[in-house]
C-alpha cells in the first residue's frame, strides 16, 4: 500500500515504524527536516518537507496515486484541511485524521466525512485515557482491552503465589467454577509465548492473557492472584491533555487528586474539574507526596510529557507506598526497561494509537487491531464473510480450521452477542472473530486464511 503520513512527531514516527515493518510504501511529510532525516536514517521510507495541508506538498508526496493518507500533525485544523484536500483534489481513497480537541470530537462522523472528507478519526489522547480508565477499573491487570462495546474484555495479568490456580493445570479452573466461561489464548513465561493447553501448569510470574465477559473478570483474576480491594483513591501527576481527560472521566467514581507544577495549568484544572483536588507542585517532590498521603493511594498515574519525570515520580510514589503505579512512557527503550520492575504498568501512547490505524491497512475485514506486549503480539477483531465454499473459515468448527501455529480464536461475536470459543464452535458468515496472535510474524498467514476466495465476488 502507498501511504502518506502527515506529521513526524511521536505518533507519526511510531506509525511509520509499524507500517514500514509491514511492507508498505511510506511517505512522511513534516515541516521539521531534522525529524524527517532522523526517520529516514532509521527506516526505509521517503520524506517530504513542507506544510502538510498545502496541495503542492501533498502532490509532491505522491497524493495522486496514494491509497491512504494519515494526518497526524499536532494541529487538528491542519489535519482536517489535509483530509479535505486529499479527498477533493487527489481522490485519495482512505483519509484518516487525528483529532485532539473535544469540540471537533463532538461532531458527527458523517459530518466530518461529508464536509472534511475524513473517513476515520483517531484520537490518541482518548485512546490512552480509555486504556488508563480500564486499568484503574481492574487494578490487578497489566492491560485491558474491550471488545464488542466492552461486553468482553481481554485482560493481561501476572500470576502470583496465592491464586488458587497458580501451580495447577489450567483445566482445574473448570472444576473450581464450572459455569465460568473463560478462554486463555496465551501465556508468556519469561517473555516467551506459550499457547496453553488444558494440562499447562501456571507458574508464579507468568503473564496470563484471558478473555471473559466483563462481569466474570474479577472471578478469573481471583484464580490467578490475591485480589486487590477495589480502587478508591487515584493520584495523577501531570495536568496535560491526558491527565485532565482522565481526571474528568473518573472523578465521578473515584477520589482523585491531580498534581501539576504550572500555576496557570492548575488554575485551569481547578476550574474545569469539579470533584478533583488540584495540587500545584512537583510530582517528584517527596514532601508534597507525603503531605497528600501517597501511601493511601490505590493507583498513582504519572502522565506528564516527560518520560524521565514520569519514571522518577512513579518510582518515588511506589517507594513511598502507593499500591500501584502507572507511568506514561513514550520511548520504547524505556518501556522495556521499566515494565515488570517497580513500575507496575508502562503505557506507551504511541502504541495505543497505532492499533486502531493498523486495522485500516490490514487485508481482510479488520474491525480492530490491538498491539500487545509492545507490538510483539496482536489481538484482532476480524469479520468473516462468504460460505463454506468461498471461505476457509466459515461453516467449519474451530478445530477444523487450519490456523497457523501461535494463533488462537478466543471468542466470537455474533449479532452483538458474545460466544466464548470452544473447540467445537461452528463459525457462521458475518461472525466477528477475536483472534490472538502470539507473534506478529504469523499475521500475514492469518490474513491470508481469512480472505475470501475469488468465488465470493
Amino acid at each position: 500500500m502507498k501511504i502518506i503520513i502527515l506529521g513526524a512527531g511521536q505518533v507519526g514516527g511510531n506509525l511509520a515504524e509499524s507500517l514500514v515493518a509491514e511492507n508498505n510504501d511510506i511517505t512522511v511529510v513534516d515541516l521539521n527536516s531534522e525529524r524527517l532525516s532522523l526517520l529516514q536514517d532509521r527506516f526505509d521510507l521517503r520524506t517530504v518537507r513542507g506544510h502538510a495541508a498545502h496541495p503542492s506538498v501533498l502532490k509532491q508526496a505522491g497524493a495522486d496515486d496514494a491509497d491512504m493518507l494519515v494526518a497526524v500533525t499536532q494541529s487538528d485544523e491542519t489535519n482536517l484541511v489535509a483530509c479535505r484536500i486529499a479527498s477533493s483534489l487527489f481522490n485519495v481513497p482512505t483519509r484518516i485524521a487525528r483529532i485532539r480537541s473535544a469540540d471537533f470530537l463532538g461532531l458527527d462522523a458523517s459530518y466530518l466525512a461529508e464536509h472534511f472528507g475524513v473517513n476515520d478519526v483517531i484520537s490518541p489522547e482518548q485512546e490512552v485515557t480509555d486504556t488508563l480508565r480500564r486499568l484503574i477499573e481492574h487494578p490487578e491487570a497489566l492491560q485491558v482491552l474491550d471488545f464488542a462495546d466492552g461486553k468482553v474484555r481481554l485482560v493481561a495479568v501476572r500470576a502470583y503465589h496465592g491464586g488458587p490456580l497458580v501451580g495447577h493445570e489450567l483445566q482445574d479452573i473448570k472444576r473450581h467454577m464450572p459455569h465460568l466461561e473463560c478462554r486463555i489464548p496465551a501465556i508468556y513465561r519469561r517473555d516467551r509465548g506459550i499457547v496453553p493447553k488444558g494440562i499447562t501448569v501456571i507458574e508464579p510470574g507468568d503473564e496470563v492473557f484471558f478473555l471473559a465477559r466483563k462481569a466474570d473478570i474479577p472471578l478469573v483474576l481471583r484464580e490467578l492472584r490475591r485480589l486487590e480491594r477495589p480502587v478508591k483513591r487515584v493520584m495523577i501527576a501531570g495536568g496535560g491533555n491526558i491527565g485532565r481527560g482522565l481526571a474528568r472521566r473518573i472523578e465521578g467514581n473515584y477520589d482523585v487528586k491531580i498534581i501539576d507544577h504550572n500555576k496557570a495549568t492548575s488554575d485551569l484544572l481547578a476550574e474545569q474539574l469539579h470533584k478533583t483536588l488540584v495540587l500545584q507542585g512537583d510530582a517528584t517532590d517527596e514532601e508534597l507526596l507525603e503531605q497528600e498521603n501517597i501511601a493511601a493511594m490505590d493507583v498513582f498515574c504519572a502522565l506528564t510529557n516527560d518520560d524521565e519525570d514520569n519514571i522518577m515520580s512513579a518510582l518515588l510514589a511506589k517507594r513511598m507506598g502507593a499500591k500501584r503505579v502507572i507511568a506514561l512512557i513514550n520511548r520504547s527503550a524505556y518501556v522495556d526497561l521499566v515494565q515488570g520492575g517497580e513500575i507496575d504498568v508502562a503505557i506507551s501512547p504511541a502504541q495505543a494509537t497505532v492499533g486502531p490505524l493498523l486495522s485500516k491497512i490490514r487485508r481482510g475485514d479488520m474491525v480492530a487491531v490491538h498491539s500487545l506486549r509492545r507490538g510483539a503480539a496482536e489481538v484482532l477483531e476480524v469479520a468473516v464473510h462468504g460460505d463454506a465454499k468461498t471461505s476457509r473459515v466459515v461453516g467449519r468448527r474451530i478445530e477444523e480450521i487450519d490456523l497457523p501455529e501461535g494463533a488462537t480464536i478466543a471468542a466470537i461475536i455474533r449479532n452483538g452477542n458474545v460466544i466464548i470459543a470452544h473447540h467445537d464452535t461452528l463459525i457462521e458468515t458475518e461472525d466477528h472473530l477475536i483472534l490472538f496472535a502470539l507473534n506478529k510474524r504469523i499475521i500475514p498467514k492469518v490474513e491470508k486464511l481469512l480472505q475470501v476466495g475469488f468465488g465470493f465476488f
Binding site: 481547578a270 476550574e271 469539579h274 483536588l277 488540584v278 495540587l279 508534597l288 497528600e292
Partner: protein
Amino acid sequence: MSSIAPVLNVLSKVVILFSATFLVPLTLSWVLDDGAQRAYDEAILITFAAGLFTWLFTRKASRELQTRDGFLLVLLTWTSLPAFATLPLLIYLPELSFTDAYFETVSGITTTGSTILTGLDALPMSINLWRGLLVWFGGMGMIVLAVAILPLLGVGGMQMYKAETPGPMKDTKLTPRITETAKGLYLVYVGITIVCVLAFWLAGMTPFDAVMHTFSTMGLGGFSSHDASFGHWNSPLIEAVAVVFMLVAGINFSTHFMAWRQRSVNAYRLDPEMRWFLFVTLSSVLMIGIYLFAMRVYPDFWVALRFALFNTVSIATSTGFASTDFNLWPVFAPLWMLLLSCFASCSGSTGGGMKMVRAQLLFRQGRRELARLIHPAARLPVKLGGQVVPNTIIYAVLAFAFMYVFAIIVLTLVMTASGLEPITAFSAVVASINNTGPGLNEVGPATTYAVLTDFQTWVCTIAMLLGRLELMTVLVVFTRTFWRA
C-alpha cells in the same frame, strides 16, 4: 453643591413621577368616598411642587451620572420618597408624628412590613392600599436596584453573575441598557402580580384584600389590612396561595425573566441559589413542624405543619405575615425563623437579608480555608454553579458579612442602651435590617412597633434602609473618600 446638583436633578424627576402614584389611592378613595380624598390632593400638590422646584433649580447642572453619583442617587431616592409618602398619613391622621409616619413608609418602601399603626381594619381602604402600594413599588425598585443598578456600582449579590459578562454591563455609566433590563423585569413582576391577585381572589379574599395582600406578598413586605394579618381568614387555602407566591417572590426575578423569555424551566435548573433557597426553607418548615408537634404546641401534626409552613416561609423570605402569634412558640422556633430571614432569599428577589448567594460563598470560603489546612498545595477555587468566583468578589462578600454582623451588634447594643430588653432589641434590629417585619416579645407578631420610643423607632428606620440598600451603598456615602474624589 455642584457635585450633588446633577443627582438632585435626576431625583427631582423621580419625585415628580412619584407624585403620580398618589392617583391610585385617590381614585379608590374617590370611588368609595371614604373621606380621605383631601389627603391625596394635598400630597400630590406638595410632592409635585417640590419635585418641580428642585428640577428648575438644578436644570442647568444636568449631566450624565457617574458611578459615584449613583450611590448618592440611590440613597436619596430611598430616603426622600418615603418622606413624601408620609403626606397622606400625616394629613389623614393628624395625631401621627412624623417619626412614626416615616417609619411606616420606610417600612413599606424597604418591603419590611413592620407597622406602627393599630386598628388597621378601621382605616380607610385607600390608606391601606397606599401602604400596600408602597411595598409593591419598593419591591419593584429593589429588583431593578439589585439586578441592574447595584452591579454597575460594584456592590450587591448579583454582582457575581455580572462580573464575567463583558460589554455594556461592565460600563461604569448608567447606560440605556438598564432600561431594557428593567422593562423585562417589570413585565415579569406585573405578570406574576396579576396571577397572584386572581389566586387570592379565587381562594376567598375580597377583591380589595386580594390586591392589597398581593402587593404586600410580591414585595415580600408583610403589610396587611387586618390587625390579625392572615389569621383574619384562618383559611389553609389562602395561606397555601400566599406560601406559593412568597416562595416565587423569593427567587431571583432575572431567573423568572429568563425562564419566561426562553419558555423553559431550564433557567431554574441552572440557578445555583434557588435550590438552596427552597431546600433550606422547606426543610426548616419540616423541622419546625416536627418541633412544634413534639413540644405539644399543637396536638395534631398536620396543624403544626400548617402553621410552621406559613409562618416559617413568611419570616424566612422576609415577608412578615403571621397566621398566629408565633411569639408564644418555644423560643427556638421563632429564633430559627429570624435566622433564616438573614440569608434564605435569593439575590435579585424582593427579599431581604444578606441573600443566599452570599451565604453560599461564605460557606464555601470557610470550607476552602479548612481544606487548605489539610492540602496546603491545593488550588481551591470557590465555585458557584460550576463557575469560578474571583477572589475580589469573595473579599467583597467577606467585608459585607463583617459589616452586616457589626451593624447588627452595634444597633442591638444601642437599642439595649436605650432601655429595651435584649430579645426585643435584638429581634427588632434583625427584623429591620433583614426587612422582615415582626420581631419577638414586645415587637412580636401580635403587637406593633408603636411600643418603641421615638429614638428606637429611628434606629429601626435606619436599620431598614441599611439592610435594603445592602449596607455598602449607604456606608460609602459617609466616607471621606467619597466626597473627596
